[in-house]
Every structure is written in C-alpha cells, then in structure tokens.
C-alpha cells in the first residue's frame, strides 16, 4: 500500500451527492473527503457510478443534489469561466486515454498549455513537455501520433498530459483498464511517483485490486450509490462482510 500521505487541508469535499440519469439513480447520498497529497482509491461494480462521480467532481456532469467543493470552490455554483480556471488545477485521466488522434504527442501535451498561458509564465512550453514526458519515461515518443502508440504508452502519455499543468488534484478513471498485469503495475507505481513528485491529491477510480492497493492511501467501496465502506486497503481486505469480501475473491 502507498503509505506516504501528507496531511493538508481538504482538497475535495463531497456531501450527500445525488445524481440520476432519468429513472436511473446512480449516486444516492455519496460522501467523500480527500486531503491534499492524499490518494483515494474508489472501487465499485461496473455501472455503480464511479466514473460519474469523478465527472461530477470536474463539472462534466451536473449534480442533482448535495454539496461538492473542490479546491475550496463550490463546483455547481461556478460560472463557465470559473470552472475553466478550476480545471487548470485539476488533471483528469480518461479511461480510454482520450488523446487527440489528429495531433502528435507533443501537440497533445501543448494543447492544455496553450489554454492556460498565465499558469506557465516563466517556463518554456517545450521544456514542460519534455519534463512531463521524461517523468513518464517516453521522451522518445514526442513526435509520434497516438495511433503509433501501444495501450500502455497511451496511458503514460495521457498521464503526462494530465501532469503537465502541475495540478493540485488528479482524477484517474480506470488508469489500468485494458493493460496486462505488468504494465498495469508500472502505471500504478507511476501514479504513486507522481503523487510524491507533484504533491497532488488523487481520486483513483478502479476495479483493479492491485492498482487500489498500490495507489490508494485509503480505499472507498461504492455500492448502491453510497459509500459502503472505507478504510485502509488491508483493513478493508480483512473484513468479513459479504459485499466487501466479494471484491477480494
């Protein structure tokens, strides 16, 4: 388990979060607090609303009810401009990497930089791109197109694009899905390295036990749209509750 969290004030504070799609009530009163520098792994069955949760955190999905405060800002009340400013401090890694097909790796990484020039004052974009690629060990892929990359490389490049803005909070949506166990472990370790290097808090949505164990300082199990249980990975693993047990067998 990743056991090196730092104690800061709360980066994400969610209270009684509700979200529905028509008659499908996905989140039914979810709570979550993430401290600065802390990695929280959220596990749950497919369709339990894990991805919806982090899309709500970044403002991609509007919430129906509840309180959602990210980096001190009340997300549902933010204007489009304020939301854009908040997003400069929040990184999001998509399940399918979501690299822009028509752009090279360099252009993919430069894209968010061009949108937030004030945030990179004093730095050269080229240096930031190279630094981010070095951190994920793929500097040699700088001029390749996403179609020329393997699944694991795409995840790494997406991670580089996420960290290039030096976010205070990173949201990972199934960072190891579709990868072989060795590459999945490498990505999980990379997430921990990034946490240490950038001092960023993270919410890692996963159903990969190894990923949750390696990356999470704390594990939250989401069931029926609510926090079913939470605690350190080892504590949760030892529980005899049948729902919790079903995740570990």
């Amino acid at each position: 388990m990743n056991s090196d969290p730092q104690t800061y004030s709360s980066v994400v504070s969610i209270r009684n979060l509700h979200k529905s799609f028509g008659s499908n009530h996905v989140l039914r009163g979810f709570h979550l607090d993430v401290a600065a520098g802390e990695n929280v792994a959220v596990m749950g069955k497919s369709g339990s609303g894990k991805s919806v949760l982090i899309k709500c955190i970044i403002g991609l999905e509007p919430i129906d009810e509840g309180q959602l405060i990210v980096l001190g800002k009340d997300v549902p009340k933010l204007s489009v401009r304020e939301l854009d400013e908040l997003r400069a401090d929040v990184g999001f890694q998509f399940q399918g990497s979501a690299l822009y097909d028509s752009m090279t790796v360099r252009e993919n990484l430069e894209f968010p930089l061009r949108r937030h020039l004030e945030k990179i004052k004093g730095y050269r974009a080229e240096d930031l791109v190279k630094e981010a690629l070095e951190n994920v060990g793929l500097l040699n892929a700088i001029d390749l197109l996403p179609s020329e990359l393997s699944g694991g490389m795409k995840k790494r490049i997406a991670l580089a694009r996420t960290i290039i803005m030096r976010p205070k909070l990173i949201l990972y949506d199934e960072p190891t899905s579709g990868l072989d166990p060795i590459t999945a472990r490498e990505i999980s370790r990379l997430i921990v390295d990034i946490q240490k290097q950038y001092q960023a808090a993270s919410v890692v949505i996963t159903h990969d036990l190894a990923c949750a164990r390696i990356t999470g300082n704390r594990l939250v199990i989401l069931s029926d749209g609510k926090n079913y249980i939470e605690g350190k990975y080892e504590e949760v693993e030892r529980m005899t509750d049948p729902v919790v047990h079903s995740f570990f067998t």
């Binding site: 854009d84 999001f92 822009y100 894209f111 949108r115």
Partner: protein, 272 residues
C-alpha cells in the same frame, strides 16, 4: 367481414401513428438543428478565436476536395456540351452553346454539384470525426483542459465550410467551362478566346451573385449538419458510421431545399 374491417382500421391507425411519430421526430430534429445553428451565431463573434484551427480546416476542406470537385466539374462540362450539342445544331443555334452552358453551370450545376460532393465528402468526414472524438472522450478531454469544444471544433469547421464551398464552386465553374470549351474547340473549331468571350458576353452579374450567395448557405448547411450529427452522436462506435451516413443524407436534402428557396427568391428579384 367485420373482422376484416376491424383489422383494416387497426392497420390504418397504426400507420397514422407511425406517420405522426415520424413527423414529431422531424420537427424535434429540425428544432435541435436550429438551436445548434443559433448557438453558432451566438458564439462566433466572441473570443477566444481559434484562427489556427480555422486555417487548418480551410486548408483540409479546400485541398482535400479540390481534386474531386475539379474532376467532376470537368466531366460535367464535357458531358453537358456533348449532350446538348446535337439539339442546338438541329435548331441552328450552335453559337448559343457558350451562353447556355455558362448560365447552366454558373447558376445551377456548379453550386449544386459542388455542394452535393462536399456534403458527401466533407459533411460525412466532419460528422464521423466529431462522433469518434465524442465516443473516445476527446471532446470531454478538451473541456477539462479549459477549452470550449464548441468553439474549437464546431465554429472553426462550420466557418471553414462556409468560406471554402463558395471557393470550390468558383473553381468548379471555371473547370466546367474549360471542359465545355475543349469540346467546342475539338468538335466545332471554336477558339478558347471566342468561347470565353461569348460566355462573358451572356453572363451577367445577376447570374453570378445569387450563385455565390447560395454557395455560402450550402457551405454553412453542410458544416452545421456534419457538426450537429457528430457533436450529438451516441451509441458508441456503431453511432460513428450512422452519424456519417445521416450527415450526408440530411445535408444533401438541405442543399436541394436551399437551392429551391434560392431559385424562388432570385426569381422574385428578377421579376422586380
């Protein structure tokens, strides 16, 4: 007998329901496309302006359609001349060939043919590209990086088609007339200078202007339909193919509807 009447009534009722459902779908889609187009006009004036992406799209649309539009225009000029030549000769009106071909191409064939080709090539391309970006969460990725995807993807593409389709129409018109001039030169011994001077003699500003104006509308319609279908695509990868197909069908239909309206409006102006 009674049973047959009841079955027929039920069938008629079902058919009416289907028609009503189709009508409802038609009006809902028309409303949504209108809202999408209204959003374009609301947002196009305000920064940030994505000039680099606009130039890239203009280049892609113009450059990649040039060969197809040019070839089709050239063949159309030749075919039109070859097909009408015998009839004109029969009436002793061969000297009217440049005027007839010129007016037909500039007023109607050039703009409509180019727009239909672009609806197929550009409209489906935009639809499929945006749909695939939506499926693979690239549009969401753009949004979380602080970029307004509507401005970056939709406004640039719609503006590019609105600018480039008229350019392609003018190019197609010239190439079509070139094809026609070659036939006249080879078959009737008419020199190129004489042919084009005759075309210019008969063509009026009133022929050229409505044609160019309606080309802008065609370009806008092709761009907005492609973007609307792509931007609102659903059903995963299956939806990408469906989107491309629907974008072509709706854009092509809209080209004919707009052409019909343009001809009616032009006719009113001519009568005045």
């Amino acid at each position: 007998m009674l049973r047959h009447a009841a079955t027929s009534t039920l069938l008629l009722f079902k058919n009416r329901l289907v028609v009503l459902r189709l009508l409802r779908q038609f009006f809902v889609t028309t409303g949504q496309i209108s809202q999408f187009a209204a959003r374009y006009w609301r947002e196009v004036w305000f920064p940030p302006y994505e000039f680099q992406e606009l130039l890239k799209q203009c280049f892609l649309i113009g450059n990649k359609s040039m060969a197809l539009v040019g070839t089709t225009g050239f063949i159309m000029g030749i075919v039109l001349t070859l097909q009408t030549r015998p009839t004109l000769i029969e009436f002793g009106a061969q000297s009217w060939m440049p005027a007839m071909v010129g007016i037909a191409i500039v007023r109607e064939i050039g703009p409509v043919l180019t727009a239909l080709i672009c609806a197929g090539k550009v409209g489906s391309g935009i639809g499929a590209e945006l749909a695939s970006m939506k499926v693979t969460e690239q549009i969401d990725a753009m949004e979380v990086s602080g970029t307004n995807p509507f401005k970056y993807l939709v406004i640039t593409r719609v503006t590019a088609t609105t600018i480039m389709i008229p350019v392609l129409v003018i190019m197609s018109d010239l190439i079509s007339l070139g094809g026609s001039a070659i036939v006249e030169n080879l078959k009737g011994g008419v020199s190129f200078t004489l042919y084009f001077s005759k075309v210019l003699e008969f063509l009026q500003f009133g022929d050229l202007l409505p044609s160019i104006i309606k080309s802008f509308f065609f370009g806008f319609a092709i761009g907005i339909i492609g973007c609307y279908k792509g931007y609102t695509s659903s059903r995963g990868t299956e939806g990408v193919g469906r989107t491309a197909n629907e974008a072509v069908v709706i854009a092509s239909l809209l080209v004919f509807v707009l052409d019909f309206i343009a001809v009616l409006v032009t006719d009113i102006f001519y009568e005045l």
